[in-house]
Symmetry: D4
């Protein structure tokens, strides 16, 4: 694609028929890479294996990838603060895999249990880029960016209750992070974080 | 006082005359403890030394204390994330001093430079109570509460710009902190945090 | 636990299997105290009695406690403004019980019927700490804090409609309370208020 | 006037010349009652005594009344929570006086010092209508409405800081008041509360 | 009741059993007037006729009144802007009826069809008090208050979509109404408007 | 211009030198029509008459027009609810004049004094397009759109206090207007409303 | 109709019976034009063909039109940024058709794929008026208005997630559009945009 | 520095003395690279040339750089939508220069004049990374990201009025941008965008 990121099907609010048809069409237009659909409702996840030959379904991240995955380039670490943030992180890792970037998922290393994060920080710091996914207080990306040289992308999630419900508190925390260089995407937008990383890695 | 916290003059929006007169009156009504005024405009800070005999003026915290300080009880640590948060922290320490609680101020230990916080965490953890003052992302109280057994009170500050301006982002972060037991007061309310601590320490 | 508050399972957004497994694991890791899960969906509340030997289920507060309760220390009063605030108050009392703090629940003493509160205020005032749970206008903690020497923790609830729906009006009222020393936790966070109290009582 | 409330000059944002001219014109059009201007800047307050013969200037409430006051009907009590709320209350009492309603101002009876309110509640309860003016937590109208049979009108004020700054917290508290029958006007709108009362008293 | 408005059951969020039991208890405590429940779910509306002898059920306004209605005093007009605002208006008329105040409901006279309002304005203007219920732009109370001498109480409703959804746009419009003397209650709070009117009429 | 509206200088936030230079440059690039600057600070208004030969300065609307005005086409009525809304209306009329559209300004016909509006409605209704400028409750455009066949463009203004301060209440009222066909521009954007009208009139 | 736009049934929140009866009544009152209902629930869409003789049902736009369509006047282009915005666009085209204005729908030309828009811009630019429907970032109307001489009306949609959910982000983008002359209607209000256009076209 | 971005002085809210002293100290601690201060008040900009030998002052971007600039690596394009966005862009370019990254500033290419952007898009597209700075509608980053393969970082600015004032509208637009891979920093945070780019370029 002209922009380095091919068209991807946003399945939310579309009929399953339409999503499956769009995947088939993308596949036909661009046979060199896989076709990807995100935010798939259950019915798409259920029907995709019968609809296509070479298909990868991630029920947690709600993605469908049709076609062989390209060989992965680079080393991206995707962190989550809690276990409830994992679906958003999985949307990111599925997108990275479909677009040919290598990724490792490290879950449940939020700042309430800082030792779990610190004990792995050397290894995390070796990544090319870090994606940090967090809901509630959204403090994780700022803390990580103060500890490692890799660029850090924060993904706020809508998990949480009270003032945290919907993700705006986590979003504001990340935008106001005191560690320099944290950038942010929309709430729950694992796909967008991954797309930015793909542009970095493939250009780098 | 019936509630354990004596009346205190809130000087903002009052004329200097009225604030100084109220201090004199509180002094007369309750000669056993000092009289305190918070959020004092420059003119009150300037005129207080001439108006009273035994007076302590904190130009940074904008407080005036009239009368001898009671002997301090307990050990409270007041942390700040940045140097711009210090005035709010000084409102807290002046209130603690006036109401007979011992306090130490540890400034500029925000999470962007986590090593500065970690290198002192043992000492901080020995406090009876911790007050953590932070603007911008407001991540400090949650990180500290995950590291020490002392109860932690978060004070969001209005410092910052963009989404952080006015302090609502820091407030939401603290309310949504994942570490259990963080409680919060109004933005810039160093006095309120200190009043809560006074009730804990004098009752404990 | 290093912080004085052991890990607790936040069951909302987890599968019942996962919550029950985490309770079993916490029990195994720390056999000295009970294991607690909060915000449990119906299925967890239903299945817990068969899954464990020594289990306490609070259907109103939506908590499950596994293992013998420790002997209670201290005297905490948990007030509610209305009867719809009781579930949040029960999350607090179940947490206090599981973590070894003694608590009394006094319901429906909101400021619309001030005499009900005033007739019990002496007794309430003898508590070590007061937790005041209120939705709609959220005025209760401020009124109580002006009447008793105990530290007061306000818990806003999401009950209410119109401007009060979701709890932000009650939250703002409590943060702006004119009585000195009121501290606040997130909307509906009975657990968090209890965790703060546990740290106070066990340290005191 | 057709609506029972004559036209009144809203002086904010007008030049002093224009405000004084409008007062003269209202006086000429309706010689039976006084002409009133609210939210007057200093220059209007300064020049009014020279501009008119029979003029009452309230520097605190920022009102100018031109012409003899009508004989007062009825008994309205105007309460304030703090001393900073007095200017808004004075806008209300000046309006009531200009429109022929009798009013008493009772200041500084907010809920942080509940005994001051309770010791006068019998007397307050004898009023035809109560206007309760409060900033910060805005709890006063709800508490009063639970204690007296008179209709209660709440006026939130913009005084306060943090979440209370601008008056939206007090406004929401009053709208969500649990005591039945509290009605509310815009923030700082002492005039509007008085206008409603005038309609009640003159119609009753 | 001490405040002129007896206790009323707020049935939302209560079990039908509890609501019906509370109605029976209110009936027993105060046999002189009827007992009222508002915001009743379907099951309460269905079961009330079998549970009580002398019962009035308003399925549109979702109210249940047990006991003979008192003879009505006064003349209140309840206006609605659209037909979707009628349920809130019916909560008001049922409350007025239960508390002994006479009311007339005039529906669908919003400002988009101004002639429908103007053709009846003389008759409306003869009321003791006007309650104006409106969603979407909420312009009705301000327009009416500029046309009649009666005091006007605005009730914003949550009907509407886009910026009007939830009622905050209508609430702000009413608070900012340019006609003097409009007072406002919480969104959808037909009961609260009626309670204020009851206090006015019975005191007048 | 390709879009039917020539480039216009937005002078706010620019130095007077830069604004005057940009006006000269626009004049040179397009000698057929006048050059316009809006939101001019005092210094631009003061210096413009010396800087250019054929210049029109509107001190109320804060506009500077350089060059002869084109002959006006069409008939646009610009209404204001109050006198404080006149500066925004004057920005609209100056823009219309500069771009060759005929306009009449009718001030102070807000809905609080509905008779003033109704007595002129026939005449207003003859316009090609109506621009209705209003702050506070912003009810004017909706009422007018229900009375005349001309398309109505609402311009909310930032005038007002309390919930109306800044213009968001008026904006929401206009967007939620029940009369069909009301369209809206940004707060205080008299220029934008005029630009839309220019496109309509010149295309019609 | 006096205003150029006949009454239209807003079916949301009405029973199907009532909507069908209102359509029949509008048909009877004004036999010259068709009767229109918008925001129809499924049951109305299902029953309309049996209830009326000459009926057009748009299941995507959720409209029902009863009676022969008038001959179309003018040329309006309705653009959508994405396919999820089509239902709102179809509400607009159905309204235009019912009120006698000719319209073309051009879907999925959002700014993320700018070439699709640019390749058709000449043709779009020939329209009398352009309606641009967009959710998420809402950038489409501003970009189009910078490219064509036709007046542009922006319709924000509630599609989207995170900060875009509910349509307020798209609404603000359109109000702040830098291209002169963009006007805006309420979120999802395809009907309102069409009503404005009808007034322009029939008056032009 | 451990994180790849050295400490930088945030001069806003600091005394000029303190900022100049901190610059001297940073210079001493790390003589290999220049020391940078951002958001400098006039007095710092005025005094810096006398205080240091080898100093670069950017009055527009409000930055002070002390010490020789490192040789620039990479090619970053910094775009602005309007000329009022230039100060924020200059904070970014000064930061890039101080930290050894090559940058080109391309101003005033917002989407209202799309041709100015399109005529340079090939050249822009050759950059390693693009920073797009925009206020008002904030549409620029999304449009650019749909046209070039480089990663795009959006910086919303606080310029604008009405709904755009303060920058939240531009922020939301950028977060909701439909083009994949746009990431965002806090409002007016040119420094933060540059810091992210430095990490990318130096790691790539
Ligand atoms: N900095 C502060 N923030 C909040 N409340 C305060 C502060 N200082 C004093 N107060 C409270 O304000 C009360 C006095 O208010 P006033 O009667 O207006 O002087 C004191 O008794 C305290 O409860
Ligand atoms: N009701 C609650 N509200 C807020 N936090 C809670 C609650 N219950 C448990 N937690 C916290 O959530 C942590 C567990 O989160 P998780 O790892 O997602 O199960 C516990 O250690 C507590 O700190
Ligand atoms: N989709 C719509 N959005 C906004 N207003 C509408 C819509 N459809 C119809 N209306 C308006 O609502 C009026 C009828 O409302 P009602 O009396 O509640 O049926 C019509 O005359 C239109 O002005
Ligand atoms: N313009 C800026 N915006 C946000 N953060 C900044 C800015 N300039 C410097 N900083 C950060 O603020 C830190 C210094 O803060 P301080 O200790 O208050 O001087 C630096 O190390 C940067 O991480
Ligand atoms: Mg966890
Ligand atoms: Mg620092
Ligand atoms: Mg109760
Ligand atoms: Mg006081
Ligand atoms: Mg109707
Ligand atoms: Mg006027
Ligand atoms: Mg598309
Ligand atoms: Mg420009």
């Amino acid at each position: 694609a002209r922009t380095g990121v091919p068209e991807v099907v946003f399945a939310q609010g579309k009929t399953p028929e339409r999503t499956l048809a769009l995947l088939a069409e993308l596949r036909r237009l661009d046979p060199d890479g896989p076709a990807l659909a995100t935010r798939c409702p259950d019915e798409v996840l259920d029907r995709a294996p019968d609809a296509f030959d070479d298909v990868t379904v991630d029920r947690v991240g709600r993605t469908v990838t049709v076609g062989a995955l390209p060989p992965p380039v680079g080393d991206v670490v995707v962190l989550t603060a809690g276990t409830t943030d994992v679906p958003v992180a999985r949307e990111a890792t599925a997108t990275l895999a479909a677009l040919g970037v290598g990724a490792r998922l490290v879950a449940d290393v939020g700042v309430a249990g800082l030792h779990r994060l610190l004990s792995r920080i050397e290894d995390i710091g070796r990544a090319d880029v870090v994606i940090a996914v967090a809901g509630m207080d959204g403090a994780l990306p700022g803390v990580v960016a103060g500890l490692v040289p890799a660029p850090v992308i924060g993904v706020p999630t809508s998990m949480g209750y009270g003032v945290a419900a919907g993700g705006r508190a986590a979003l504001a925390t990340m935008l106001a992070a005191c560690s320099p260089g944290v950038v942010v995407v929309n709430i729950d937008n694992g796909f967008g974080a991954a797309a930015h990383v793909v542009k970095i890695v493939h250009r780098g």
